[in-house]
Structure formats: structure tokens, C-alpha cells
């Protein structure tokens, strides 16, 4: 019990302190039209709950689709690059370059390809954002195997495929999960930012943009809170899956 308390207490204390600071110092200083108080945001959240909840799910679905595609491709690419090392050196600069293209540059192109109102365009944006971190982390995991672990398998005359299956992939799992966790947050951001360039009114990004334009800042922040919370929940979900899958991990469940 004390362990749970110890883990959560600092976060809660900081949360409480932050909220108080915000409500009584920061918001009054900046004024209502720049930064609403937490109380106003909560009120707006309550009033518009139904709309925001549905918008959140709509956007989350886009994020999930993009996450699945981007992470899937990232892992496959990493497997290929680890298998054929020469490809790795040759293609890496291009991956780094593609990653350096800012989202607002390729979002319009995705919208053009898949259609402004089509959720697929937002999924594509989310997928592109997820691809690179998953690729980098998975590659690092696949190549982080100790030489002796490979030598051992060679002493058993194991084939390359068996080495991959039995050693490289399990070793890579922690790294893969790191990449996936980064991707959860990016997929949500990708979906929302994609919606900024045009999308269905049901989408969270459109809600945020509209409320900013209409100067309804409490609503904008309420929508941001929903977006952020869903991103965090997604991150936590992958964390749970990680704990479950790697129950053999040191920090995990003890026998």
C-alpha cells in the first residue's frame, strides 16, 4: 500500500500545486481571454461532454489506425534492415530525411491523396509519424544482442532464422515497446494536427480549431484536455501490455 502511495504521491502533490498556481496566479495574471482558469475549463468540459467525448473517440480511431499501420511497417522495416545490414546504412539517411519533413508539410498532401473528410488521410499522417521512432528503436533492439549470445547459438549450429526468432526478437522486445510508447503519443498528435487542415466536424482537432477561432478558450482547452488524456491513456495501455508480455522482466512480477 505504501508503495502505491510513494509512487503516486509526488504526482498528485505536483498536480494539486500546479492547479492552485494556475487557478489563482497564472490565469488571473494573463486574463480570461488568454488563459481560462481550471474551473472554467472543467465547466466547459461538463457542458460539452457529449460532443467532446464522441469527437475524442473519432480522433482516437484515426490515431489507432495510423498507429497500427505505422508501427507495423516500422517493425517490418527494422526486421529487414537488421537482416540485410548493408541496406541499413544505405537507407537510413533517407529515413532521417523523411522524418525531418514537418507534419504541416505533408498533411496537405495526405489530404489530397486520400480525401479531406476521409479518416484515412489522418490515419496516414499518424502512420508516418509513428514509423520512424518504431523503426529506430526496433533496430537498436535487434542489434543490441551480446556477441556471446549469438556465438552460443552458432555453437548449436542454429540457422539465421532460428537465431532471429529465439534471440534477437526477445532481446528487442523492451526496445520495441519503448518505440511503441513514443508512437502512441505521436499518433494522437498526427491525427489531431491532420484534422486542422480540414476534416469532419466530428473530429477533435476541428473542434479545437473552431473554438480557438470563436475565442471560446475554455472549450478549446477542454478539447485539449480530452485529447491529452486520451493520448496518455493510450500510452498507459501500451505500458500495461508491456508489463504483461514481458512478465519475465526484472522489474515485473516476481515468482
Amino acid at each position: 500500500m505504501t508503495r502505491v502511495l510513494r509512487d503516486w504521491l509526488p504526482v498528485l502533490v505536483v498536480f494539486a500545486a500546479g492547479m492552485l498556481l494556475w487557478q489563482f496566479a497564472l490565469a488571473p495574471w494573463l486574463g480570461q481571454f488568454l488563459l481560462p482558469t481550471p474551473a472554467q475549463i472543467v465547466k466547459s468540459l461538463h457542458t460539452h461532454w457529449s460532443v467532446l467525448w464522441h469527437a475524442g473517440w473519432f480522433t482516437l480511431e484515426e490515431a489507432l489506425g495510423g498507429f497500427a499501420i505505422g508501427c507495423g511497417l516500422g517493425i517490418v522495416a527494422a526486421l529487414a534492415l537488421a537482416r540485410w545490414r548493408r541496406l541499413s546504412g544505405a537507407l537510413m539517411p533517407y529515413f532521417i530525411a523523411a522524418n525531418a519533413v514537418p507534419i504541416i508539410a505533408f498533411a496537405p498532401i495526405m489530404n489530397n491523396w486520400f480525401g479531406l473528410l476521409n479518416p484515412h488521410s489522418k490515419m496516414a499522417i499518424a502512420a508516418v509519424l509513428c514509423f520512424f521512432p518504431v523503426l529506430v528503436n526496433t533496430t537498436r533492439g535487434l542489434t543490441s544482442v551480446r556477441p556471446e549470445a549469438i556465438e552460443l547459438m552458432r555453437s548449436y549450429a542454429a540457422s539465421e532464422v532460428e537465431i532471429f526468432r529465439r534471440v534477437r526478437i526477445p532481446t528487442a522486445l523492451p526496445f520495441i515497446f519503448t518505440g511503441l510508447k513514443v508512437a502512441t503519443v505521436l499518433s494522437m498528435i498526427g491525427a489531431i494536427v491532420g484534422e486542422y487542415f480540414g476534416g469532419s466536424i466530428q473530429a477533435l482537432g476541428v473542434q479545437i480549431e473552431n473554438s480557438v477561432t470563436l475565442f471560446d478558450l475554455p472549450l478549446a482547452w477542454a478539447a485539449i484536455v480530452v485529447a491529452s488524456s486520451m493520448g496518455i491513456a493510450f500510452y498507459a495501455l501500451i505500458g500495461v501490455v508491456e508489463r504483461f508480455t514481458m512478465s519475465w522482466a526484472r522489474n515485473g512480477v516476481q515468482q
Partner: protein
């Protein structure tokens, strides 16, 4: 038929380092041969040449009458490294099972053999544990059990007890001798420790500093089976001194 035969083996690494030069060595069945020498003398490299994990630049390595490569593919040997190299995501039992899985043994046979091996290294009851739950000495015992699980005639060991404390090391030395006697295998053992080499071996091969050559081969005529009291025997000290002097002549600092 000799188990291991090395003729004129040399190894030069890319970049110019000459690790081994002109090694001639034969190992007969049921021998326990130690390789000892100063750091960098190539003893680990030599072990890996025998195991076909590193190809020699010159010379031939024959294991069980076949090329080293054929012997590796036929899984004629088991190897133990200084780090136990156990896979964290497998239990102790599954770690020992690994080579048997690769040999496509069926489940029942695997389970039986794992139980046998755990008895052999006296770790019965630890099947379901994970490597990090075990001490260093226990992890090495699992590594030995794994190396022996498919009953290879040859056991290659690269300073397996090097990372352990003196007491554990002495105990594991006795364990290893018991296992060696019970399984009737041949052992090639790389070590840094002169007393360990003398205690365990039937023959000690002393290597010179880089480039590694064989400086001297010393027969250890202590009685078998070796009890731990033998470490206090006068003959033991004589042999230790002989090995030490051979090492100094070969280029180790006193």
C-alpha cells in the same frame, strides 16, 4: 581417435594482430586439458578455433576426425563462456532445453533430460526460476547443464568460473570434476588461475604472450579422483611452481 587435433594453427585478425602462431595440439578422449597463459595470448581465440566460431588463418583444426565446421554442424561439442549467457526470458528449465529444441527432440524426452541435468548440477527444484533470481555460481551451473544436455563428447570452457569468488570457484571445480567423471567427456578448459588449472587437469598447456604459441605442456600426474585436500599436497605445489615458471619463461611478468 583423437578428439581434437590442431596442426600449425595460426590466426591473424584484420588490422594485423597476430593472435596465434603455429599451434600444434592433440587432445585424447577423456582428457581434461587446460589452456593457461597471460592476457592476450590467444587462449580464448584458440578455443573458438576448435569450436569453429573463428576460422584459422593457417593450419587445420580437426574435431572427432572431421573438420571443425562439420563438428560444429553435427553439434559435437558444448561450450560454456565466462558470462553464463542465459536468456532472461526463459526459465532455467527452458534455458537448458534450448539446444534440445534446436535438435528437435520431442517434449517428453526434453523434460526428462532437463530433470537429469538439473540433478547432475545439483539444482533440482529450480526449474521455474529465472536467471536473474540465481547467484553467479548457480547461473554457471545452469550453463554447464545446458552445455551437457545433448551429451556432447567434447566440452569447451572459456574461463567459466572467472567471474566468481574463490570459495564458489573451488566448489564448482569439484563439481566439474565429478560431472566429467560421470559423463566420461573430454574437456578443453581456458583459465587464468594456475591452481585451478593444476587441480582440474590431466594436462596443462602453457601459452606464451602474443603471438600465442605453446610454450610448454605439463602432465599433471596427481591421483584421480581429485579430492580438495590435494590442494595442500606437496606435489600440488611443485606442479603449480612448474606451471608458474613456464609462464614466466613464456613472457608473463613475475
Amino acid at each position: 581417435m583423437t578428439v581434437v587435433e590442431l596442426k600449425g594453427v595460426s590466426k591473424q585478425f584484420r588490422g594485423g594482430t597476430l593472435a596465434l602462431q603455429g599451434i600444434d595440439l592433440t587432445v585424447e578422449p577423456r582428457e581434461f586439458v587446460s589452456l593457461i597463459g597471460p592476457s592476450g595470448c590467444g587462449k580464448s581465440t584458440l578455443l573458438r578455433v576448435i569450436g569453429d566460431l573463428i576460422p584459422p588463418s593457417e593450419g587445420t583444426a580437426t574435431v572427432n576426425g572431421k573438420t571443425a565446421e562439420r563438428a560444429r554442424r553435427d553439434r559435437d561439442y558444448g561450450i560454456v563462456f565466462q558470462q553464463a549467457v542465459l536468456y532472461d526470458w526463459r526459465t532455467v528449465a527452458k534455458n537448458i532445453e534450448l539446444p534440445l529444441e534446436l535438435l528437435n527432440w520431442d517434449r517428453r524426452r526434453r523434460k526428462e533430460r532437463v530433470a537429469e541435468m538439473l540433478d547432475l548440477v545439483e539444482l533440482g527444484g529450480f526449474e521455474g526460476h529465472h536467471p536473474w533470481q540465481l547467484s553467479g555460481g548457480m547461473q554457471q551451473r545452469v550453463a554447464i547443464a545446458r552445455a551437457l544436455s545433448f551429451e556432447p563428447a567434447l566440452l569447451l570452457m572459456d574461463e567459466p568460473f572467472g567471474a566468481l569468488d574463490e570459495m564458489t570457484r573451488e566448489r564448482l571445480n569439484s563439481e566439474l570434476l565429478r560431472i566429467w567423471a560421470e559423463t566420461g567427456s573430454t574437456v578443453v578448459f581456458v583459465t587464468h588461475s594456475i591452481p585451478e588449472a593444476v587441480y582440474l587437469s590431466t594436462r596443462v598447456v602453457v601459452m606464451s604472450a602474443r603471438p600465442g604459441r605453446i610454450a610448454e605442456v605439463i602432465d599433471i600426474d596427481l591421483p584421480q579422483p581429485r579430492e580438495s585436500e590435494i590442494r595442500e599436497d606437496a606435489r600440488f605445489f611443485e606442479l603449480v611452481t612448474r606451471v608458474r615458471e613456464a609462464l614466466i619463461r613464456g613472457g608473463v611478468e613475475a
